[in-house]
């Protein structure tokens, strides 16, 4: 299916700046997000670089303690609220949800544009807060430190995060309505691509969870600005209440970051194994299970907080339950490759990297769910390593894998396969070199958020910093070869990977309204033909 007006697509339809800034085209909004989250990723990455350099020596040789505390706080806030949470949903989700379900756009195109503006306003507040003095509460804003004691830009930063939350809520709303109401004829729920299932589950969390963190931030502001006692015991408040409210959102937020990645991996593994995803229904349902049970495990962040011992036991139990659907997904992806026809293209390398790193991240999560073990490793570098394996190893590998997989669709161009593979492998190696030593230094007892540390932890910290330089190269490489592909890349054609899925039936890049006639779906997702015996190993 090709478009009649060949040559006109969403990119070259109009070159004026206002046509971008006032666009309601989901594909253009996706690119607006792509540029803005890349800016925040660069900022967050640079902050991480300074942190790693400072930790080269035990004595905090590079920056002062105040500065160090602001660095890790702003690294966390930037990466979580302004990069990871919007990353796959706002860029790839925005671009692909309508294309994959055969729609012309999202249900509310103007609200979609509004989401981006809200995101930019929130981000601007946070950047202003950073350059006018920064904030040092940690991204977790624990009270009463944040509400009473910190004398940095807490209010301005919190306002930025508060505002950006609405962008997330609106995106979630848009996806839920679109997926419910705008599927092409014949595209039943059981034929939906798993990427859509993952985004559906993610959107539910965005809709239900984000308002809670918004209210929590508002309460911190009320206490800090007006002295209303909510969290500070000196004012009659309860500091532990904040942790309950904060993690009620912020634990599910981890699933906002990882579920879309899982959706990407399902698409990529199926395409490059040329097989339908093994256990389609189970994988789809496991996304929803993660979204639901994920709301019931927040207390596992609080095993040493003075939360009741019995509450700790219940949260531990539920945390083990939420691990199961993730394990099931990993087994299903592996089974998908069985007797496939596996092509190790760049996106597939990222997907395999995801499976490896997510497996390690998930298994170390089991350590943290185990009450007696968590007591020792809680708030140490073990936790830091664990969530980087999930959120960087998992979420960012998924994001980059997806970006490489759909890059030909988004831009109409191919990138250098050789450079793509080199970058994927560099990232995988650099990531492990950076974060694996942090597991060990955490087991030894090095607490997180330490500007200086006892000298016996230095060797492992040097290893980690050395690894971070490799990781940095892995992140910078795509910037070059993807830009090159944009300028000089070979034309991709509608379906360079010969993948299934409605998005591959549209031109690359797609025309403004995606399809010139509404597609009719008659088959399930991943209808890869049975492989002839000869192609098997």
């Amino acid at each position: 299916m090709t478009t009649a007006g060949a040559g006109t697509n969403y990119l070259n339809a109009d070159y004026r700046v206002r046509s971008w800034l006032l666009t309601t085209d989901h594909k253009r909004i996706a690119l607006l997000y792509l540029v803005s989250i890349s800016v925040f990723f660069a900022i967050g990455g640079a902050l991480a670089g300074v942190i790693r350099l400072n930790l080269l020596t035990p004595y905090g040789s590079l920056v002062q303690a105040e500065t160090y505390n602001k660095l890790f706080t702003m690294h966390g806030i930037t990466m979580i609220f302004f990069f990871l949470i919007p990353s796959i949903p706002a860029v790839l989700g925005n671009f692909l949800v309508p294309l994959m379900i055969g729609a012309r756009d999202l249900a509310f195109p103007r609200i979609n544009l509004l989401s981006w503006y809200i995101y930019v306003v929130g981000g601007t507040f946070t950047i202003v807060a950073a350059v006018t003095g920064g904030v040092d509460t940690g991204w977790t804003f624990y009270t009463p430190y944040s509400s009473t004691f910190a004398n940095t830009n807490v209010m301005l930063t919190a306002l930025g995060v508060f505002i950006t939350g609405f962008s997330s809520i609106l995106t979630g709303l848009n996806f839920v309505v679109t997926i419910h109401k705008m599927r092409a004829p014949g595209l039943t729920w059981s034929r939906l691509p798993l990427f859509i299932w993952a985004h559906y589950a993610t959107s539910l969390i965005m809709l239900l969870g984000t308002p809670v963190v918004a209210i929590t931030i508002l309460l911190v502001a009320l206490e800090r600005g007006l002295g209303i006692g909510i969290f500070d015991p000196k004012l009659g408040g309860d500091p532990i209440l904040f942790q309950h409210l904060f993690w009620f959102y912020s634990h599910p937020a981890v699933y906002i970051m990882i579920l879309p990645s899982m959706g990407v991996i399902s698409e990529v593994v199926a395409c490059f194994s040329r097989k339908r995803v093994f256990g389609y229904t189970v994988v789809a349902v496991s996304s929803l299970t993660i979204a639901i049970v994920g709301f019931l495990v927040w207390g596992h962040h609080m095993f040493v907080s003075s939360q009741s011992m019995y509450a700790g036991m219940i949260f531990s139990f539920l945390s083990f339950l939420v691990a199961i659907p993730s394990a099931i997904k990993v087994f299903n992806w592996t089974a998908t490759m069985y007797k496939g026809s596996i092509d190790l293209r760049t996106p597939m390398l990222y997907a395999l990297g995801f499976i490896g790193l997510f497996t390690i991240g998930g298994l170390t999560g089991i350590f943290l769910a185990t009450l007696a073990v968590d007591v020792h490793v809680h708030d140490t570098y073990f936790v830091v390593a664990h969530f980087h394996y999930i959120m960087v190893g998992g979420a960012i590998m998924g994001y980059l894998g997806g970006l490489h997989f759909w890059w030909p669709k988004i831009t109409g161009k191919l990138y250098s396969e050789a450079w793509g593979r080199i970058a994927a492998i560099t990232l995988f190696i650099g990531f492990n070199l950076t974060f694996f030593p942090q597991f060990i230094v955490g087991i030894l007892g090095m607490p997180r958020r330490y500007h200086v540390y006892p000298p016996e932890f230095q060797f492992l910290n040097i290893l980690s910093t050395a690894g971070a330089t490799v990781l940095a190269i892995g992140y910078v490489l795509p910037l070059f070869y993807l830009t090159w592909s944009l300028l000089k890349g070979e034309r991709a054609g509608a379906n360079p990977w010969r993948a299934t899925g409605l998005e591959w039936e549209a031109d690359s890049p797609p025309p403004t309204f995606n399809f010139d006639r509404t597609p009719v779906v008659t088959a399930e997702a991943y209808a890869y033909p049975s492989l002839p015996e000869a192609s098997r190993g």
């Binding site: 905090g60 303690a65 105040e66 505390n69 624990y142 009463p144 430190y145 004691f149 910190a150 015991p233 000196k234 009659g236 339908r276 093994f278 256990g279 389609y280 229904t281 040493v304 003075s306 011992m309 036991m313 531990s316 083990f320 691990a323 394990a327 087994f331 592996t334 490759m337 026809s341 596996i342 395999l352 497996t359 390690i360 298994l363 089991i366 350590f367 769910a369 185990t370 009450l371 007696a372 968590d374 007591v375 020792h376 708030d379 007892g445 607490p447 200086v452 540390y453 000298p455 010969r498 039936e505 779906v521 008659t522 088959a523 399930e524 033909p529 049975s530 492989l531 192609s535 190993g537």
Partner: protein, 334 residues
Amino acid sequence: MWPTSLATRLRIFPEQASTVAGQVDALFLFLVVVSVFFAGLIFVLVGLFVIKYRRRQTDAPVPSIGAEVASAESHDHSLGALALEVFWTVIPLGITMVIFVWGANLYFTMSRPPANAAEIYVVGKQWMWKLQHPGGQREINELHVPVNVPVKLVMTSEDVIHSFFVPAFRVKRDVVPGKYTVAWFEATTPGEYYLFCAQYCGTSHAVMGGRIVVMDRPDYERWLAGAAKDVSLAEAGEKLFYQIGCSSCHQTTNTGRGPSLVGKFGTMEKLASGESVLVDEAYLRESIVFPQAKIALGYPPIMPTFTGLVTEDGIVQLIAYIKSLAAPQKAQRP
């Protein structure tokens, strides 16, 4: 800034110096074995499939999604696939339940101090640890304890949340303003061990630490005798009790405007609201800081707050004194 007496050699596993450390490590190592097995399984299978099923020839083109695909199954109807899904759901579930029970059981032990434990009062503040022994010995960022004796820590904070963390003991517990939290350990090996603050608490969080010195009984007795002390905690509390005027209402008999505190600790107190509350450290602390929170039955709600008049250290002393009034042999004292 770190105690230089502590060994600085490369390790990959922390030393074990408490009764629970070995038990935590056994569970930890079990988790390592399970993780290595599952990660290894996934890595080996993925590696194997990538090699065995690598693409050897260009296969058939993908038909349009709009066309009927005869060969594609619509769902996993095969019994084998279902059995496989059940298999890899049930096995991990079973293993995690074993880990859950093991971890919860040990956590229960770690959360309940033995009844005969020696008590140490810990006050965290930005950015130091203040520790008080029942005998009145006070320490800063250093805690001397005897070996093979269970030690119970009763902890609170003067400002933000801190966390008392001794890696060699596998002990960590947040120290929260406005309430008492409890941790305990029984050291097994004399020596010096790091004490860290594990909960981010502001600018100098990273240097809010020190050491735990575990000593043989004779050494410990010598240290106790030589350590700077004024009077015991209860004696200091008694002095404070009169100094700030508690005694004018809380008299030895129920004749004052407030209830007598003699023999009160550890009993159930009837409240004006009709409820009852156990008179423990938390209730006493609350009654000093927020006297209006729970009113004892039969007494007017006239007690003013002592916030600002008495420090956390002072509250600890007052509680030690009130506790001493509960002991029958001391009940006769004024």
